[in-house]
Symmetry: D2
């Protein structure tokens, strides 16, 4: 039977590549975003269902999972891609925006992961993946409102990896250490210059980590272009 | 002239030891907490001023710094000790409490650090210290609501260390990797069994890091009992 | 044209799984070990060439690569699996064995990597993989003679990843964080209980990392069983 | 009774600052180096004994400790400063020099630490400190022969910290993350520009870590100038 995949925070770039890659594997793909208008073409191309969802709102996340589970069943793979990139020098930051940045990036990840875990604990298996960034492990100047929630999501992923692995749920955190080539690619289109991360290449690794045998699971993996100093 | 120290999230244990240690160095000590009734004895003993403050509220933090600066001047050292210890299995957590835990532990640290940085950037120097825990770097099962903000505070501290060091502000993150002996000690009282972290010993290290020459600053240091496996 | 893979430190367990997995991909496999008698069956099964080599001896490593390059060409993938597991309390260790442990585990890795890099810098591409262990990142009591070279190999891998990635050579370090199920499996045989790392599963990940697009390379990945606390 | 300190790999810079700082604390200082001619002035200034020792040679290290113990007693603090800085691109490195670099930097640290541990396990207490570098945790291009032993020494320090702390021996690893101002300073001389690490400031931190109460020990601490990006 086909697996079900849910991508939260879907947009162009990585999410689109993931949707295509998972659909090509025969998975039923569900796409969730605040604005699902922009996902029309991708949904058609990947035969995916779209769900409007504000992932920073608990009831919206509950409704999302109820919808997905009614339509296709419990997800076997949930990818959490939601993030906000607010930045600035410490003395110029707006506390309200710092709080909002936490809600969009970290609270969302928690809400999605919790709801996914509840369903997967019932179904007995599944993968919960988080998309991280350089700022997940290296907090640079002027990155306070971005690094704080990204560090928090890594803490979430690590705690859940330890908590859920013995219950047959594979939690993984992907550190995307570099810029993603973000042109919306149509299938067959020539790839981006490979000094940026090709989202199709990232998607390949997400799939491989999802396919790992549980005797040899990875909880964290970093990806960067061959040209990137680190 | 005497230095000014502000301890936010003051209570028994580490904060009390810090207050005593810094007062003994001749510093003017200010203690901030939501409930300042409990600080009466400590304030008298250390000749400290007390300030009622909800550190997760931006206007309360602003009022705190205005008070301290009017009373004794810009702090030379600010220690952020605020933390909430909500824990539980992922499927039993209350999202509202997870959010509140983030506000108490991480948003507070941001608000205090931002306000401290603004004043210190004007005064041209200062130290901003954060008290971390094992969960700042190692997220264990059932620790999601504690590890998320603790990881976030570490990201805050690391970003600020990089951002503010070249502006002569020393930001440091202390990983307290073990339980603190928390009996409220009166001066001269016999120490706790040293399998727990003696808060007086922790306070010594805080002071030493504050005293470091800026050509050899530390941004992170971990402390654990000699008996603690890690 | 078929790729060439060289596995140094070949034996049962992971090396055998790798040889089978790479041969199944159509690669020409070369196996190097001090004692190649024990590799007879594996070589026959995987159609691999065997090379006697003491990897801690520079001239022996040179001879190995000359042989492989004459027989099949420059390797596209070199896996360095050599390790010695000498352990003991600090006050009982024999300095001569500590030195020997370093030579077998770390100096060997350097010699193999250097020789591989020289050839790959000429051929213009390739992958150099190192098999690490828990002790590569976490040095436990009584592990001095094992952790020292394992940490050193990680330093080697990290330096080379930074140095060689921009020259189109993919260097990766695999942290095998748990025990490997080591029964010599015949093809089709039922797998080991999955509380131990299945070497076939590890081999899958090595192949996937080798196949990564260079715009999204990984330099380090850890693998552990779903049941392993970490 | 005065404490005894032994500095192995003594020279100008950090070792000289340490010798002065520890002597000022009233400690008996012993200085060990391959060439002790250059230590004449420092020895006179700090009232230190000098010992000729090749720390990469086990019998020479044994003789060193026998001498120190006969002259002043078991050291309470041993600082291992020995290091070699051989570097180069991977394809230009001389294997013999790579091996020698390991012996000078890592084998020496092991031999000194083992001998120190044996004596301290008998005396029941002591501190064993290792001087690390950026390369102890971050291996940069062309640093293979330096990063390998520096990573190894960190593994040694971490294993020993875990192994010896419960036996009342404090093992610590200092990451000196930046250049040290190395002019041989006479007491009272004006300090170096503080964009380089002032060795006197580093020495202060070594002493403070040695003085830590065992309920709150640090096993690793990094030091860098306020101006250093990291």
């Amino acid at each position: 039977m086909a697996e079900n995949a849910l991508i939260v925070g879907a947009g162009k770039g990585l999410s689109a590549s993931l949707a295509r890659r998972l659909a090509r594997e025969g998975m039923n793909v569900a796409l969730a975003a605040r604005n699902i208008e922009k996902l029309a073409d991708l949904a058609q191309e990947t035969n995916a269902r779209r769900y409007a969802c504000d992932a920073s709102d608990a009831s919206s996340v509950t409704k999302l999972f109820e919808g997905v589970e009614a339509d296709v069943g419990v997800p076997d793979l949930v990818v959490c891609n939601v993030a906000n990139r607010y930045r600035g020098p410490i003395d110029e930051l707006d506390p309200a925006q710092v709080r909002r940045s936490y809600e969009i990036t970290a609270l969302s990840a928690f809400l999605v992961a919790q709801r996914a875990a509840k369903s997967m604990l019932r179904s007995g298996h599944g993968s919960i993946f988080f998309t991280g960034a350089t700022a997940s492990v290296k907090a640079l100047p002027h990155s306070v409102p971005f690094s704080m929630p990204k560090f928090a999501v890594r803490g979430l992923a690590q705690a859940l990896a330890r908590e859920l692995a013995p219950r047959n749920i594979h939690v993984a955190h992907f550190i995307i250490d570099g810029g993603i080539a973000t042109s919306w690619k149509t299938p067959g289109e020539a790839g981006p210059a490979d000094k940026w991360l090709d989202p199709d290449a990232i998607a390949d690794t997400y799939l491989q980590i999802h396919r790992q045998h549980r005797s040899a699971w990875t909880w964290e993996i970093e990806l960067r272009p061959w040209t990137e100093s680190f």
